[in-house]
Amino acid sequence: MKVIEVKNLHKTYDEGEVKVEAVRGIDLTFEQGEFAAIVGPSGSGKTTFLNMLGGLDTPTKGEIDIDGVKVHNMKGSALIDFRMKNIGFVFQAYNLIPVLSAKENVEFIMRLQKMTKIERDTRAEELLKAVGLGDRMNSRPSKLSGGQQQRVAVARALASKPKFILADEPTANLDSKSTETLLDIMEKLNKEENITFIFSTHDARVVKKARRIITVEDGKIISDERKS
């Protein structure tokens, strides 16, 4: 089942005199349950592409269709609402609200979605256990390691039951041990719960785990391989 369909996507940053063509003509589709890596050197346009997929940035040209919704036409609070309900985000850093505990961070997005307290409680606990943090639920982010923080971010991203999760270099700040743990958890969620993950990286160890590897260079796709 197709979740995302991207057609002829372009993004040009207009910085006065210089124009940066960060993304130039990407066509892609993602299926439900994919575990896909966007790979490419720094500056190749990965972040720009993911931001547009997630509705954080608007394309200069082209179309993004998420489950039948034309995201490239959306604006303002409708877009914010759409993001909240359909897309889970994991960023490289600054994922969590520092003054809230791990559990409250996961609950936060469910509160925005106006879920009931019981629903929030059970789901937050369930998700934190799933990412292996059942015993750190009441810790604030500053009391967690970088890897643990990223796992909370994954749990938070899952909380809203999104159609897919976008993770922009989620392991960039992690050591190899934490990187492995995080990827194992993501892989497990993908296999067992059929969660769609789209993540960018330039780390070879992360690339190895992906089942689909999309390589970009200069804002264009140069290869798109699937492993069986």
Binding site: D81, F89, V99, F108, L112
Partner: protein, 476 residues
Amino acid sequence: MIWSIAWKNVWRKKTRSIVVIISIALGIWGTIFTYAFMIGWVNQRVYAVLNSEVSHMQIHHPKYKENNDMQYTIPNGNKIINDLGSISGVKTYSKRVEIGAMANVSSKSTGVIINGIDVENEKQVTEIYKNIIDSAGTYFDSKKSNLIIIGDKLAKELKLTRYTITPELISSLRNKKLPESLTTKLDSLIGINYRVEAKFETALQETLGEELATQYFYLIKNKAISYKIRSKIILTFQNANGELSGAAFRLAGVFKTSNSMFDGMNVFVRNSDLQAISGFSDQQFHEIAIMVTNTDSLNLIQQEIQAKYPELQVETWREIQPEMALSSDYMNISYYFFLVIILFALSFGIINTMLMVVLERIKEIGMLMAIGMNKMKVFLMIMFETVYLAMVGGFVGMIFSALTVWRTGQSGIDLTAFVGEGMEAMGYSAYVFPEISIDYYFGTGIMIILTALIAAIYPARKALKLNPADAIRSDA
């Protein structure tokens, strides 16, 4: 949820928040306490005006006050006195004869105003009888004729005072925990009488040394003073027929109000004694002073009396002492004016702090917007945070104000050592009892919240302008 995150955010940078809170608290405390001090001061003055000097209302012949010409007695005065009792809202009233005179004691003489009064009625209207200094006589308690009550200031001018150090005085100073070096030195002065304040002061300086003497002069002086009760005072004046007249009076008591000018000018004698020498009959007098039951209806009562006696001058204390009424009325407005200035200054600190908050949290705010927190909620979060910060500061400031106002309002602030005589010369007490009504606290609280809301707008708008993609990418 937003409000609880905002509350927790306030305490993220504790030191910075506490600095802002303390500055707000100090600003608020300074404002409230300053005004409590002034209000207490003015209210005491108003109390004195109403209860010792002017009363709520006065009736005169319309020409009397032009230059206090004593020919202008109130026409049909006794009829008015009889009528006043039936006017509703009038509580008490007293009639007075007022005559300008010279007061003589041996070689000293000075100008005074003789108030010829009906003692029992006067007690209903003024509280001078409560202001008789301890062990300085009584307020016409004796039945003897030709008694006179004078003020402390006049007693000093006429040299009817004496300064003596007694063993009792020294032991009372010891009880007050004054330095032992002071009390032992004073022993050498026991029993010596000083007639003049200046001589007494010199003696104190010689025995105690410059420093101790200056520090404790006021205190010791007020304990050492005594008055020569039963001294003879000669009053000389022109009588009703324009002839020079006069008589000797015996000093019965000395009063002291917070207004030393009043104390220096006014002497009180029984009207019955005065009639014998003044040429005025029982029917003739210059002034009726009135107290009402409820000051809210003061103007209505004034109008009623004025309508009944259109030929007389009927004035409330506000008309007799307009500057006093004005300072009392404008206290409120000037308070808020002052507060606005203070809050305006504080708002720069608040804006600066909140701008730093937004700047520090660009990535976090970007993340919040990315995961679905809408602009309204981001805006509210910054607003709440600002309001909390200001409210905590305001709350601390108001609690501190309430405590200090309460404490000093109980004990009074003693300004005698600094400005005592100067203030009293202007009619203001040298003991201030700060007071401020609860309305000021409510008003201040609302003003603080308003200030916070206004100060929050600019930083909150900065946060709103952030674009999540740029914010997360930013290297700040």
